[in-house]
Amino acid sequence: MRIGDRSVTPAAGWTLTWLDREHGVVRLSDGRRSRLALVEGVGAEWVVTIDGRRIEVAATTWRERVLADADVAARAHGGPIEVKATLPGLVVAVTTTEGAEVGEGDALVTIEAMKMQNEVRAPRSGRVAHVAVAAGQPVAAGALLLRIE
């Protein structure tokens, strides 16, 4: 089991009871106290909610892990990165232009959603190759905002 970049050993001495398989509700007990938890996901990718906090757990095999690491490495060091909207909303500002050099963490686009203004920042440094949106434009989750090379 992996959480973030660390390997985590499942808790020993706790028993798990399924309360609602459809919704992934479980009860955990160590014989002294019990806690409710929720699990969602499929295959190797799970989110476990304990005391209201979502904890992402990768239940990967060795082979899956090697492939995933290779993919992450490729995205980090080579080729262009597409920056996409992580939530639907209205573009209220584009604070970079095509051709501009941006540093990791620089603000690129501001999207208003659920009454909040959310800044989209550069995942790594590079040159802005293409800007796909303009202020005033509504975007869906996953929509391309711009490309960094």
Binding site: T9, G24, L36
Partner: protein, 506 residues
């Protein structure tokens, strides 16, 4: 009892629309829901006797469109309109248009909304009535004279929108020379949010507590002062937790607050429900902030300690009823706490989280009240406020109420999206909160983005995930349209983003 109205339209959505409809159901009033295209399947539509579409998802074209709502009221034959909170609830033009259409507006008179909606004018009126106000300007801040007469204000200070509310248009400035640059941003935000870019400046009182007084008046000159609420647990100047009575107030401080609230109400022709907000400094002195001329999100806290139904009374006084002695002299009993359940990630600046609710388990039993706007597998439209539900507890005193809250949180489960439940679990064990010794800096000072996940919780999460994989569980087995699968996709996307070295981790 004869129903005060035959049919009432609720010009709102989510939990507050359901709350108003429950009051109507008990009063024998037929209810009309309104909905945008994003809400066609929402709970408030299902709860109404009748529902009217009012436009596309964008609030400006639906829940904020007075024309669309008045047309819906006309089609449905409604006699009265309850605006809830937010949206058009404090809009004087809307209140006027409702009355002009021959309907009853369930709220204070339009002139009162106008007078108190201008936060600067309200500051002047309150000061004139002998109520202490937060030190600062009582006139708008001009672009030119920004650095002019600010010496008396004192720094740090807050830029605030005269038409403001909900923390929008607000900017902290630490020195006089920071005012000019921050002013531009504040103006832009205020203009976009309220259509009015007027900005003024107040000293930032900190540490301070946010304490407000509930008022309820009828159209015959009677005014009930229904105790105070402490709403100091805030993020982004927006409330997360409210309680009544406010911890640690002396009887004299409580009386002084009530007296000030009465004075502020006396500056206008007031009836229906409103709340006067104050800041309390470390010495227990209070300063008028603003008066909200509508039902507050947190009205249920006052309902629990007084035993009164504030929404039912809003409707009854709007129909001309007199407040009886039992309301005018209601005595609070016990202690009540409300926590708001938001689709927000408290580990990332309480950022709203889009998606769908998956599992939905709310607590029950003694002294627990839940006002929910969603249920299992409800889609959360990104256009609106991410409030999911309010969880309220009531018990004989504050320690018992905190224990009850802890128990209720332990029974609560929400799937699909990160919520502020993890913050609330932390809060009920936070020594300052447990002792009742906290102020508006609590979230910023003591929470930040929260503690890291404990080793035990990580090991338990690993156990649960391993068992889930073994058991062949998937997010929502056997359901083709599986709304609960979507949050997972969202989570996977976020996880992928985070795995990329160098991705920002706010």
């Amino acid at each position: 009892m004869q129903p005060p109205f035959r049919r009432l339209l609720v010009a709102n959505r989510g939990e507050i629309a359901l709350r108003v409809m429950r009051a109507c159901g008990e009063l024998g009033i037929e209810t009309v829901a309104v909905y945008s295209d994003a809400d066609a399947g929402a709970l408030h539509v299902a709860a109404a006797d009748r529902a009217e579409r009012i436009g596309p998802p964008a609030a400006a074209e639906s829940y904020l469109s007075a024309d669309a709502i008045l047309a819906a009221a006309d089609r449905a034959g409604a006699e009265a309109i309850h605006p809830g909170y937010g949206f058009l609830s404090e809009n004087a033009d809307f209140a006027r248009a409702v009355v002009a259409a021959g309907l009853t507006f369930v709220g204070p008179p339009a002139a009162t909304l106008a007078a108190l909606g201008d936060k600067l004018a309200a500051r002047r009126s309150a000061a004139g009535a002998g109520v202490p106000i937060v030190p600062g300007l009582t006139v708008p801040l001009d672009d030119g004279e920004a650095a002019l007469d600010l010496a008396d204000v004192g720094f740090p200070a807050l830029l605030k929108a005269a038409a403001g509310g909900g923390g929008r248009g607000m900017r902290r400035v630490d020195r006089p020379e920071d005012v000019a640059p921050a002013l531009a941003a504040a103006r832009r935000e205020a203009g976009a949010a309220f259509g009015d870019a007027t900005i003024y400046l107040e000293r930032l009182l900190a540490p301070a507590r946010h304490v407000e007084v509930q008022l309820l008046g009828d159209r015959h000159g009677n005014l009930a002062v229904l105790g105070e609420r402490d709403c100091s647990v805030q993020r982004r100047h927006q409330k997360l937790v409210e309680e009544s009575p406010a911890p640690g107030l002396t009887a004299a401080q409580r009386d002084a607050l009530a007296d000030s609230a009465r004075r502020v109400a006396g500056t206008v022709q007031f009836d229906n429900a409103a709340t006067v907000e104050f800041l309390l400094d470390g010495g227990g002195n209070h300063y008028f902030l603003e008066m909200n001329t509508r039902l507050q999100v947190e009205h249920g806290v006052t309902e629990l300690v007084t035993g009164l139904d504030l929404v039912a009374w809003q409707i009854r006084v709007a129909a001309g009823e007199r407040l009886p002695e039992a309301v005018l002299h209601a005595e609070p009993r016990g202690h009540a706490i409300e926590v708001r359940l938001y689709a927000e990630d408290p580990h990332h600046d309480f950022r709203p989280v889009p998606g769908s609710v998956g599992a939905w388990r709310m607590p029950g039993g003694p002294g627990v009240r839940v006002d929910a706007g969603v249920g299992a597998d409800t889609m959360l439209p990104s256009e609106y406020d991410p409030l999911l539900a309010k969880l309220l507890v009531h018990d004989v005193d504050r320690p018992a109420a905190v224990a009850r809250l802890r128990r209720a949180l332990d029974e609560t489960l929400i799937g699909g999206v990160q919520t502020d439940l993890s913050f609330l679990h932390w809060l009920v064990d936070e020594p300052g909160f447990v002792a009742g010794a906290y102020d508006t800096d609590l979230v910023a000072d003591r929470w930040a983005d929260g503690p890291p996940v404990s080793a035990e919780d990580e090991a338990l999460a690993a156990l649960v995930a391993a068992e889930a994989r073994l058991a062949g569980i998937s997010s929502s087995p056997g359901r083709a349209d599986a709304p609960a699968a979507r949050p997972w996709a969202e989570a996977a996307r976020r996880a992928a983003l985070r795995e990329r070295p160098g991705a920002p981790r706010r």
